[in-house]
Amino acid sequence: MNLQAIADELYRHQISATELEKLTVRYDGLSVDDAYEIQQICMSQYMNAGQKLVGWKMGLTSKAKQRSVGVEEPIFGHLLDGMELYEPHVSLTGLIHPRVEPELAFIFKHRLEGDRILPRDVWLATECVVPAVEIIDSRYKNFSFTLVDVVADNASSAKFYLAEQAYAPYQIALDQVGVVMRRNGEVVQTGAGAAVLGHPVRSVVEQVRMLSRIGKAVEPGMVVLTGGITEAIYIHDRDQISVSFEGMGEIELSVGQ
């Protein structure tokens, strides 16, 4: 199968923000490994155009989401500098049907690699933990996909924003951090860090393990978005999204055209 051609097609849809039909209804026999290969090729095109790899993101990190796609393990995608918001404002231009979800981000000072790492390896390599919001945006019609589709589509990555205040990873029990997401003042989602694989540090462990299969690593300075703590909610023009992280401040995200 011509994975390059499929990657080209996805890339065109990503940069033009236009929907496409699921790959899996058009191509028979695409494997998960093929899907990661497509993701890889697709991301190289951005990097050839000058974008920089700044980290990784985990997806399908809750049991509920894994069940909804019928899988037993999470997935990952690439984070590029072009996806990062410098201000907590997101423009709908260039997005198809965006949704936002609250996450905890890890920022690393040391390299992490291999398939046999433990939470303590993660803590030793971690510089700080930062509250974050991720804007996800599937390129597939109706935000509907199978595992292979979503992996090829870079795990639905679109934009992300990290809060200004960083926290030492040791003072706060990250599995217990409560999160409240409000849209225009009304509570729409709540959750706690444990929604992410029982503890967000587990997500980093998984991330490193999955990267090791393709010979990659978490490099110093990189970010890992560990996965949604609540369900993602759709955003619309002029929405004001506020996310409170227990003991870790708030993110106020505005949405515009």
Partner: protein, 260 residues
């Protein structure tokens, strides 16, 4: 609705509870049953239990989240009564007779003062509260397959089953009630997470609603009452033998095992 019907419905629900056999929704036969009638049914069974020697220890508030209210097409919560016979201690094996139990993570308010309505607001609730403590509410429905509409659940004591409080209440002044995170684990696996604000934006707002609603019925929340303020996540069905652990961060934890 005539008096004898209220009595009949109360008797049907009471029999279903004793026999552990769910009945079809009351609203199938009486689609127009009002909230007031439904509360009359509830109060009649409350009185029956009191006369049988059980003691009211507080109230529970239900339908406190937007998704639940939307599901039942209502815009306000409901409430039920808590009896001494429903209360377990953290760590207990819960042998309460149940039909189709689910568990919900909640914060319980322990009142130090009476809270007479109307015009009770969040601040009045905070002033009257001694402490909060994590609670697992085991809800149950005497209506088959949980096919409830608003009047069904109100008549059925707001689908109350039994409840378990944690051992270490936190003084109200030290508790963060909105962003406090709750993690509900069943047999060691995370089943649901949430935070206090899932309950009407602030759990004390639900208690304020209850105080005002009771005042419209001529009663009052009393010092010493327990108030289960409402679920911070979706309810999770549980089975015999399941171990349920609710961890509420700095507000403590509570656990129970469902009897086999």
């Amino acid at each position: 609705m005539a008096e004898y019907r209220v009595q009949d419905l109360a008797a049907e629900l009471s029999a279903a509870e004793r026999a552990l056999r769910a009945i079809p929704p009351l609203t199938e036969r009486f689609p127009d049953m009002s909230m007031e009638t439904a509360y009359q049914v509830q109060l009649m069974n409350v009185e029956t239990k009191r006369q049988a020697g059980d003691r009211i220890v507080g109230h529970k508030i239900g339908l406190t989240s937007k998704p639940m209210q939307q599901m039942l097409g209502v815009s306000e919560p409901d409430f039920g009564h808590l009896f001494a016979s429903m209360q377990y201690q953290s760590g207990d094996v819960v042998d309460f007779p149940l039909i189709q139990p689910k568990v919900e993570p909640e914060l319980a308010f322990l009142l130090a003062e009476d809270l007479p309505g109307p015009n009770v607001d969040v601040y009045a609730v905070l002033r009257a509260t001694r402490a909060v403590v994590p609670a697992i509410e085991v809800i149950d429905s005497r209506i088959a397959d949980w096919q409830i509409r608003l009047a069904d659940t109100i008549a059925d004591n707001a689908s109350a089953g039994c409840f378990v409080l944690g051992d270490e209440p936190t003084p109200i002044g030290q508790a963060n009630l909105t962003t406090c995170g709750a993690v509900l684990k069943i047999n060691g696996e995370v089943a649901e997470t949430g935070a206090g604000a899932a309950v009407m934006g602030h759990p004390a707002a639900a208690v304020a609603w209850l105080a005002n609603r009771l005042s419209s019925l001529g009663t009052t929340l009393r010092a010493g009452d327990i108030v289960l303020s409402g679920a911070v996540s979706a309810a999770v069905p549980v089975c015999a033998g399941d171990h349920i652990l609710l961890s509420f961060g700095r507000l403590g934890r509570v656990e129970l095992t469902m009897a086999k």
